[in-house]
């Protein structure tokens, strides 16, 4: 058993942590496009019902001073939102009608 990445309250989500605890949007975007809808659904279905609970947990900490496991839980929430577009809106990993267009996020706040 490897070291847990997430707060103990969210141990059930550990199977997704190594894949989806990603610090930047370019990493999360690339992971979504490299995933199958089955994989995206599995993550979304496991996490979305607990998303509000995760937000409430994170609200106990100052945004600029999150413990490491809490920061990874926030990254997991960012990934959930990234995946939500594929699951809730497009029903596919790619944006509908995007063709070969790319828009790169080159700057974002941390964490």
């Amino acid at each position: 058993m490897s070291t847990p990445l997430l707060p103990p309250e969210f141990a059930a989500l550990e199977p997704y942590a190594a894949t989806w605890c990603l610090a930047t949007e370019p990493e999360r975007w690339a992971r979504r496009l490299a995933s199958t809808m089955e994989e995206l659904h599995a993550f979304y279905d496991a996490f979305f019902p607990r998303a509000e609970e995760a937000i409430a947990y994170l609200e106990r900490f100052p945004l600029d001073d999150l413990p490491a496991d809490a920061e990874r839980l926030l990254q997991l929430l960012y990934s959930l939102l990234m995946v939500s577009y594929a699951v809730e809106v497009w029903k596919q990993p790619e944006v509908i009608n995007a063709g070969s267009a790319r828009i790169d996020r080159i700057r974002e706040p941390r964490p």
Binding site: E25, F48, A51, E52, I55, L58, E59, F61, L63, L66, L74, L77, Y78, L80, L81, M82, S84, Y85, E88, V89, W90, V95, I96, N97, A98, G99, S100, A101, R102, I103, D104, R105, I106, R107, E108, P109, P111
Partner: protein, 422 residues
């Protein structure tokens, strides 16, 4: 039946009679020759937005800005007296790019007391003066006091830093921006310092891309999903109307009534919209900005949502009723390519919940922006095919009409050596 009242002339287009109502040529978007002409007539004459003053927090702060298509790197610095200055980012000695980090192709920023050329070690002060020549005694007739950096005209307005490559600018920045854009001075842009930045290289003329953000007529058919998750909401035949259009010289704006999703029943929302209380018009919970806010919603639209100011030639400022703003910039790099830059600005999040609302708004911007970018690739191809020479623009596309007319008027005026309409 129109939902919003139109001007006394009956339409927005006829309210500005110089625009006409006829078919419009987009030759200006497919011609390599026109691209060259417009670069000289517009991009080397107009004031261009290069950054925010928040990027220069202290004396000695600097950033570089590449101007794609103009073969120009601008060095913007706050000197020791606090004045914001701009220079060509080029060493006087042998033309090396002066300030860069890692690669001369990337922009950089930082804080410095002086700038040192990596090549032969020449140094320059924050005021651009040459302060050190390595082995000065080896040169011939060296006049170090005449070897400063080449200045670029630079001014700031409402915290936006502008430059112009014109040797002698025809207008001060303030005169150039005029009363409509100028009225935004005093809007609390300076409080919105949390920034998400995006960059894209698109396969379309810069105007073809910009055109899509000057009208909302395309939103229901192209961005059907934006209307909501249910079949009844996703009606591509939904008729979009904007309540207000306004033109001031080369600049233009449109106010829209927005979607106000925070008032919608939950079944018409995507689950993540409800979770984050955010979406395509941004976070639902607005920061307290005090009030009233100057310059926005100039016609007093009752259910105001968004103002979209297009500052000629290539800056767009979108101001949202929920207290955040976005800028777009379009930099032509050929007749059929351009670099797009999009920046989202929020009052900094204090909590995880606020940050997630910002993150979801930033995600949404990219998801729907990709639909525009992908589709406009096809528009460029269609225009270049030459099947049709002239095109139709309706009253909700009045700003597209004004934009292309302004571009063509500026090129014609420049070539007659006259001042274009400001």
């Amino acid at each position: 039946m129109a939902r919003f009242e139109k001007p006394a002339e009956g339409t927005w287009t006829e309210h500005y009679p110089e625009l006409g109502t006829g078919l419009v040529s987009f030759e200006d978007s497919v011609s390599p020759a026109f691209y060259e002409r417009e670069r000289d007539a517009i991009f080397k004459q107009a004031w261009l937005y290069v950054g925010r003053v928040e990027e220069l927090p202290r004396n000695g702060s600097y950033f570089t800005k590449e101007l794609p298509g103009l073969k120009t790197s601008v060095l913007v610095a706050r000197d020791m007296s606090g004045r914001v200055r701009a220079f060509h980012n080029v060493c006087r000695h042998r033309g090396n790019k002066l300030v860069w980090d890692g690669t001369p192709r990337a922009e950089t920023c930082g804080s410095a007391r002086q700038f040192v050329c990596k090549y032969h070690g020449w140094r320059y002060g924050l005021d651009g003066a040459c302060t050190y020549v390595h082995q000065a005694g080896e040169f011939f007739d060296l006049r170090q006091d005449q070897l400063g950096l080449a200045p670029i005209h630079c001014d700031t307005w409402a915290g936006f830093v502008f430059v112009t490559l014109a040797r002698e600018p025809r207008w001060t920045l303030r005169n150039y921006l005029g009363p409509m854009v100028g009225a935004l001075e005093g809007y609390p842009f300076h409080r919105m310092t949390e920034r998400y930045s995006f960059r894209a290289e698109n396969n379309s003329n810069w105007k073809v891309f910009s055109d899509a953000f000057q009208e909302y007529y395309h939103v229901p058919p192209l961005h059907t999903h934006q209307l909501g998750p249910t079949r009844e909401a996703q009606n591509p035949e939904y008729a979009f109307e904007a309540p207000h259009y306004q033109i001031d010289g080369p600049h233009r704006m449109v106010s829209t009534s927005g979607t106000h999703k925070h008032t919608w029943p939950r079944e018409h929302l995507y689950p993540s919209e409800a979770l984050t209380r955010s979406g395509n018009t941004g976070p639902w919970d607005a920061p307290d900005l005090g009030g009233p806010l100057p310059g926005v919603n100039p016609s007093g639209v009752k259910r105001w949502g968004i103002d979209n100011f297009q500052v000629f030639p290539n800056l767009e400022i979108l101001i949202y009723e929920r207290g955040w703003y976005v800028t777009y910039r379009y930099w032509p790099t050929a007749h059929n390519t351009h670099v797009f830059e999009g920046d989202l600005f929020f009052v900094p999040a204090r909590t995880v919940r606020e940050r997630l609302a910002h993150e979801y708004a930033a995600l949404t911007f990219k998801e729907y922006g990709l639909q525009d970018a992908g589709t406009l690739d096809g528009t460029q191809m269609g225009l270049e095919q030459g099947a049709f020479r002239e095109f139709l623009l309706n009253d909700q596309e009045v700003l597209v009409r004004h934009f292309h007319k302004t571009v063509n008027d500026w090129v014609a005026a420049h070539e007659r050596a006259e001042a274009p309409v400001r």
